[in-house]
């Protein structure tokens, strides 16, 4: 147990048919904490995150939000609670432009002759502002996402998540496709958000990314929590050994 718990998962198990992607996992994030979640491919990182963001229901186990038990029926339910997730793939609709992507599902509207119409002007302006805040220079927010590079897309996805300023930000492999400079910017951002009281979960297989910015680090292996360490009590090498260790 941590003080000031924001979200707590207890005994989470997830079965896909007869395959257990997660087995009896306990996981917890405190308010204003950056938690690293590492593990090899197939360790269950993405599955755990999908349960926490309402994409999958767990097969067994409980989920507590600020101390009270909750059931997340849909991604929308998780968002309403205050969970914002950037999934590893498919965070954006490629055929749509940047502003429509940033505000997808939470479009800004204005009233026009009694109709609620999209406020495309404001969406464009604010989308440009938030992407430039994380270091992405775009000519306009009208460009289609399919024309952007991998790193630029990732920035747009992250921008859309931080725009909505939720209580918990989940970043699944955020530095994929990103240059070193872009990655550093994103990792710094999680520190800044922490100072504003926003918690983050950082999922990566790159320990060098996760270690410097995380307060605590969970290591998953074969669908189980192998261990959890406070950052100052461990090192990249020790974590690396844990991830690679045989059962």
């Amino acid at each position: 147990m941590v003080d000031n718990s924001l979200v707590r998962m207890e005994g989470i198990t997830k079965l896909f048919g007869r395959v257990a992607a997660l087995r009896d996992v306990d996981f917890e994030v405190a308010r204003g904490e950056v938690v690293g979640l590492v593990g090899d491919n197939g360790a269950g990182k993405s599955t755990l995150i999908k349960i926490l963001s309402g994409v999958y229901p767990p097969s067994a186990g409980k989920l507590f939000w600020q101390g009270s038990e909750v059931r997340l029926k849909s991604p929308r339910a998780a968002m309403r609670l205050g969970v914002e997730t950037i999934h590893q793939t498919g965070a954006l609709v490629e055929g749509m432009d940047v502003k429509r992507n940033v505000f997808l599902g939470r479009e800004l509207t204005k009233s026009f002759l009694g109709l609620r119409l999209l406020d495309l002007h404001r969406m464009g302006k604010e989308a440009l502002q938030v992407v430039s805040g994380i270091g992405l220079r775009l000519r306009s927010a009208d460009v289609e996402v399919s024309t952007l590079s991998g790193g630029q897309r990732q920035s747009v996805a992250i921008a859309s998540a931080i725009y909505h300023k939720q209580e918990l930000l989940i970043l699944d492999e955020p530095t994929n496709n990103m240059s070193v400079r872009e990655s550093r910017k994103i990792l710094e951002m999680t520190r800044n958000l922490r100072d504003e009281g926003i918690s983050s979960i950082l999922i990566s297989h790159n320990l060098n990314d996760v270690y410097p910015v995380s307060d605590r680090i969970y290591v998953l292996r074969n669908g189980k929590v192998l261990g959890v360490w406070r950052q100052e009590e461990t090192s990249v090498d020790a974590l690396c050994e844990a991830v690679m260790s045989e059962e």
């Binding site: 994409v55 954006l92 609709v93 749509m96 505000f103 997808l104 479009e107 999209l118 399919s146």
Partner: protein
């Protein structure tokens, strides 16, 4: 200077119905060259006379295609809707109520077909192909192929759906009104943004908090209701409900949508483009007659225009992608 030209060109290419517009102008040029009567007031009136029925179906199907689904049953629903209306009037249901009930049945058809597709994840192509046969079958069985006249007491309904307003029939104005309303819905409302998102990438739309099933369901129902409305407009214009009404409209509607720049993969397209696409099909039909080309060539030319439209659209997309950076 170069920068300005580039911006102007990208701006121009961003107009999504550019390709169908160019196509229309080119076809008008060709047909006008072949026959000087094309742009005469009388001929324009006859093009516009037939446009609303195919046009309404085309914009209806386009919304569904943008959401990532198909509806092949629209032609059959077009025939079924006035049939239900007339049958109800024959058993003394007041005409206006009969019309509303007929449209209600169309909504139910859309909901049933959509429900089957979404509940059991069956491709809508298959479900609505079955729908095309089932509903056309219902029409043929109940009428035995004979036309049903609109009863005399339906004159108010007939007038409201087909009377002349100035140079055109009122159906044309319904078509224009629906085009504008649906355009506004798709481009400028939250629901429209969800339709594009669901059609572009359903999984993404879902994780971003959109309910893809609900969005698609609305599109299925809307499509069937519009097809039913088109059927009522047509039956009112002709004075009879024909058992064969709307045959092949399902394919012409898809053709119109594609000519108008709607992507069959979903997630892309505009309603105004689709409306222009429907106009292009009417234009081909009419232009060929004026040019004294045997009617047998009609399908051939629609086919050619589809291919040209798609190729032009693709080139435009590529240029846009290159210059947008």
């Amino acid at each position: 200077m170069l920068e300005q030209m580039r911006n102007a060109l990208t701006g121009l290419l961003r107009i999504k119905m550019l390709a169908p517009l160019i196509m229309t102008v080119a076809l008008i040029g060709i047909f006008q060259y072949l026959s000087p009567h094309l742009l005469s007031a009388r001929n324009l009136r006859s093009i516009v006379e037939l446009l609303p029925e195919l046009g309404l179906i085309t914009i209806a199907v386009s919304i569904l295609i943008v959401s990532g689904e198909f509806d092949l049953s629209v032609g059959a629903v077009l025939a079924l809707s006035p049939l239900i209306g007339v049958r109800l009037m024959q058993v003394n249901v007041p005409p206006w109520i009969a019309i509303v009930l007929a449209l209600g049945c169309c909504a139910a058809i859309g909901a049933i077909q959509g429900g089957i597709c979404l509940r059991w994840r069956i491709p809508s192509f298959i479900v609505t192909l079955a729908g095309l046969m089932v509903w056309r079958g219902v029409v043929l069985v109940t009428t035995r192929g004979f036309p049903l006249s609109m009863p005399a007491e339906a004159s108010g309904v007939v007038a409201a759906l087909s009377q002349r307003v100035g140079m055109f029939r009122i159906g044309f104005f319904y078509f224009i009104a629906f085009t504008l309303v649906l355009w506004l819905m798709l481009e400028r409302t939250r629901f429209g943004n969800w339709v594009f998102a669901v059609g572009g990438n359903e999984a993404t739309a879902h994780i971003r908090g959109v309910n893809p099933r609900r969005v698609k369901m609305m599109c299925f129902v809307l499509c069937s209701v519009l097809a039913g409305f088109a059927g009522l407009v047509q039956a009112s214009r002709l004075g009879v409900a024909l058992a064969t009404a709307g045959s092949q409209y399902e394919l012409m509607a898809i053709a119109g949508a594609v000519i108008g720049g709607v992507s069959l993969a979903g997630g892309k397209g505009t309603i105004i483009g689709a409306a222009i696409g429907a106009f292009v099909i009417q234009l081909i039909q009419n232009g060929l007659i004026l040019a004294r080309v045997p009617g047998y060539w009609f399908q051939f030319f629609v086919g050619v225009v589809i291919v040209v439209a798609v190729v032009v659209g693709q080139l435009g997309e590529r240029m846009k992608a290159k210059w947008a950076r």
